[in-house]
């Protein structure tokens, strides 16, 4: 902890710098999304009305959505609205985009958070065990199991979990989302575990090799020579240093976890933002797509920021 005192000021300016860097990133993503969704073939009215729509109806509905105006004009309206906190109204669901995002995004966040926690709970102790028992049976079993986790498609793991722990053993509900907070945690456990399965495999493999690298470092030998207790050596010297690269990986993988949530949410019938994103792409629901992209861009940027801060805390040289 003694590192923090001397590093507090650089850390503060580092965080400020990173926050300022986030702004152009989010704006860039916003512009790209806005233009890209409009370059996709098809338009909201056609997607919404389907094959039966007649031309007059398609034109009338697109015009009522303001989509007959040039893209730069639409963009100006959009930016003006974003600054007043108005992300528009969903074309398909006829609800304000902010309302929809506030309903759906927390579900995905909770799922992702649970998956990340479960992944850590699985990966950290097992990585230690595998590293300390390197090339022994325990190591082989742990690595073998996680290899399976990495190579199995998420939807397949999901269906397996549902069949075994849901339909057969009846320990968990077969998909769906509950009514109360506790009920929702209960419903989200299996999908989170499904996501955590492959995520923890990535973390475990990385952490294991980091630990192996650190265990043999000179400063660890020095700590041992100083007569420090093994637990102190492990937590303060080995884990802290081994975690640096894993934290980076963890941050980067959070984005992937959102991607995995799309499939998991479908298999487990969880009404999250992943499914909403897919539906709005297929339905060319521009306002929802834009709103969700902004929200996700901000979230992923915040995750990266948190990762950077944590990393700077682990290794103060990062902040300098």
């Amino acid at each position: 902890m003694q590192n923090i005192g001397s590093g507090a000021l650089p850390l503060f300016s580092f965080v400020l710098r990173r926050i300022l860097q986030m702004i152009p990133t989010v704006v860039f993503i916003l512009v790209v999304t806005f233009v890209l969704v409009r370059l996709l073939p098809g338009d909201p009215a056609s997607a919404m009305l389907g094959d039966r729509a007649i031309d007059a109806d398609v034109k009338r509905i697109n015009a009522s959505l303001g989509l007959d105006k040039p893209i730069p004009v639409q963009f100006l309206y959009f930016v003006k609205n974003v600054f007043t906190g108005d992300l528009g109204t969903s074309i398909a669901l006829k609800l304000p985009v902010t309302t929809i995002i506030m309903q759906r995004l927390p579900v995905t966040l909770m799922l992702t958070l649970m998956a990340a926690l479960l992944a850590l709970v699985l990966a950290v102790p097992l990585a230690f065990l595998a590293a300390l028992r390197r090339e022994q049976t325990a190591d082989a079993v742990i690595r073998g199991t996680f290899q399976v986790g990495l190579s199995m498609p998420v939807f397949y793991v999901g269906i397996l979990m549902l069949t075994v722990f849901g339909a057969t053993l009846k320990w968990f509900p077969v998909g769906g989302y509950g009514d109360t907070f506790a009920d929702r945690l209960y419903h989200l456990f299996l999908p989170a575990l499904t996501l955590a399965f492959s995520f923890s495999a990535v973390l475990m493999r990385n952490l294991r090799s980091s630990i192996i690298g650190v265990i043999n470092a000179e400063y660890v030998d020095f700590a041992r020579a100083k007569g420090l207790r093994p637990r102190i050596i492990m937590t303060r010297h080995v884990l802290r240093n081994a975690l640096i690269s894993t934290v980076t990986l963890f941050g980067l993988q959070i984005g992937t976890l959102f991607g995995g949530a799309v499939i998991t949410e479908t298999v487990f019938a969880v009404p999250g933002a992943g499914r909403l994103m897919i539906d709005s792409i297929y339905g060319r629901d521009y306002p929802v797509l834009q709103g969700l992209t902004i929200a996700l861009a901000v979230l992923v940027s915040l995750t990266f920021l948190a990762t950077d801060i944590f990393q700077a805390w682990l290794d103060p040289r990062v902040a300098r």
Binding site: V174, A269, P271
Partner: protein, 525 residues
């Protein structure tokens, strides 16, 4: 002897009646697994089957479809009469009918609802009631529809979701400047006239309906319908999850069972695997324009289209894709559509005839062509792969272009596609809707194919005003004859609606138009 027989018959009837009266059980909530959530619960402004197919549980119409989906029966109206000249319809409202808030359903509400449905600026379904010129009321029970021209389908139209009756005052009191704005607010908490009322809606997850205490319907036990206390829809997009949840008893029914699982679920002891007759037809659309994007199009030649039809082994496709659940089409419209004609499968597989037609058309060596396939849709990919092999026999090299639905719709609407797969379900118990899209060129250029037949167009125009049922049936017979012989499609198969229900569910019905009726459903305790 006669007396004994009569007594026996009376006893049987009595026992039968009392059994059915006793058999019905009241109460309970039925949970039904849907593949997708609804989007917008306004009967006039909605666009999708996910709304249409459940709307009748919330909103009642003047007339109701019969269980076979072909006829009409009393709904909010108990009597109806079309005038001799076909220019007006008189309807008498049922006594004492009320909306779910307890307010009376008045002729004024009916007139307002029907005018809203017929307004050309409202939604995409107004064409179904485009013949309505005006709606007037007479006293506290009579509604008169004045028509622009005789409309043989007007009674069927009064059973369709978009003619549902809404409370004018409540709707107009909803916040918003325009009809569309008000509809958004109203549809979140609708005051309704059907057997159920919307209690809550957790988007993308669950929708809860509870019984409408003011519904007019009476059950077999003489008490008010519905039998159920409520219906809960759970959105379960993944087929396997929906079936698992049904098997584990967490839900009571599941829609859209994949064809590949139908046989398995038929043998499940705890389930009834229902195959409800439907108007769903599966086909391939062929662009019939002489040129597509500046290139000559062999599909514009009717002989080529016929050859390709004869080269498709529909039985094989039915076996591969629908696992035997489907049956070959005998017309472009389903056999459940009124005025359907035809008793033989269209274009029975005949490869020699196909080859000779190709030769006659000057394409003995075949040609290169393409088909748009919905990316990731296993049924469509299966069909296209089978077609690829079958048409290879004629030297036709078929390229599969997998795209998402919006992209496909765009190419389709622009008329620049070569071929595409498609399915159709009727929304009205009349052949006019499907014919207007498939055959009649002014609507959407006969499925955007550019195909046009003057005689068929004229027959359709005439049939829209023909109130002599026999003459109209003859017109439709001729339209089908023309289209089935040279139309721009490869008719593949028709399929029922596969719905799996727990054995404790009774009285649930999905009619051929797709509407799910929970009003008479009940559960074993």
């Amino acid at each position: 002897m006669k007396k004994i027989a009569k007594a026996a018959l009376a006893a049987v009837l009595l026992v039968g009646t009392s059994l059915s009266a006793v058999a019905v059980e009241r109460g309970g909530v039925m949970t039904y697994g849907r593949y997708a959530d609804s989007l917008f619960l306004d009967p006039v402004l909605n666009d999708a089957n996910v709304d249409i197919w459940i709307l009748s549980n919330l909103y009642d119409t003047l007339l109701l479809p019969t269980d076979d989906g072909k006829g009409v029966q009393a709904g909010l109206a108990t009597e109806w009469k079309v005038s001799d000249d076909g220019m007006s319809v008189n309807l008498t409202l049922r006594d004492g009918i009320q909306f779910s808030d307890g307010s009376p359903i008045t002729p004024a509400d009916v007139a307002w609802s029907l005018k809203r449905a017929a307004n050309k600026d409202n939604g995409i379904w107004n064409f179904l009631v485009s013949s309505i010129d005006d709606v007037t009321t007479d006293g506290d029970k009579t509604v008169v529809l004045k028509l622009k021209h005789p409309d043989p389908a007007i009674l069927a139209a009064l059973t369709v979701f978009n003619t549902a009756i809404l409370p004018q005052k409540v709707f107009e009191a909803a916040a918003g400047a325009t009809d569309a704005d008000k509809a958004k607010v109203f549809a979140e908490h609708p005051v309704s006239s059907g057997p159920f009322v919307l209690q809550s809606w957790d988007r993308g997850s669950t929708m809860k309906l509870v019984r409408n205490e003011h519904y007019w319907g009476k059950g077999e036990d003489g008490k008010p319908l519905p039998y159920l206390d409520g219906v809960t829809f759970e959105v379960l997009p993944d087929d396997a999850t929906r079936i698992l949840k049904l098997n584990s008893g967490e839900i009571d029914g599941a829609e859209f069972i994949p064809y590949s699982r139908v046989e398995e679920l038929k043998s499940a002891g705890n389930l009834n695997m229902e195959l409800f007759p439907s108007t769903r037809v599966q086909y391939v659309t062929m662009n019939a324009r002489p040129q597509i994007k500046g290139k000559d199009n062999p599909l514009s030649n009717p002989k080529v289209r016929q050859a390709m039809n004869y080269a498709v082994n529909k039985d094989a496709i039915i076996a591969i894709v629908t696992h035997g659940v489907g049956k070959p089409l005998t017309s472009y419209m389903s056999s459940a559509t009124p005025m359907h004609t035809g008793d033989k499968p269209l274009y029975a597989y005949d490869i020699e005839k196909a080859k000779s037609l190709m030769k006659e058309a000057g394409f003995e060596k075949g040609f290169d062509t393409s088909i748009l396939v919905l990316a990731g849709n296993q049924d469509e990919i299966g069909i296209a792969t089978a077609l690829q092999q079958m048409w290879a026999e004629l030297g036709i090299k078929l390229e599969l272009q997998q795209v998402d639905n919006a992209t496909r719709t765009q190419q389709y609407r622009d008329g620049v596609f070569t071929m595409r797969e498609a399915a159709w379900t009727d929304d009205i118990a009349d052949p006019n809707e499907i014919t207007s899209y498939f055959v009649y060129s002014p609507t959407i250029d006969a499925l955007h194919t550019g195909w046009k037949n003057e005689e068929a167009d004229k027959l359709f125009d005439a049939s829209q005003k023909e109130i002599d049922a026999t003459k109209r049936a003859a017109q439709y017979a001729r339209i089908q004859e023309i289209y089935n012989a040279e139309g721009p499609i490869v008719p593949l198969y028709e399929t029922p609606y596969p719905v799996a229900l727990s054995k404790k569910v009774h009285g649930f019905l999905q009619i051929p138009l797709g509407n799910n009726f929970f009003g008479r459903a009940w559960l074993d305790k």
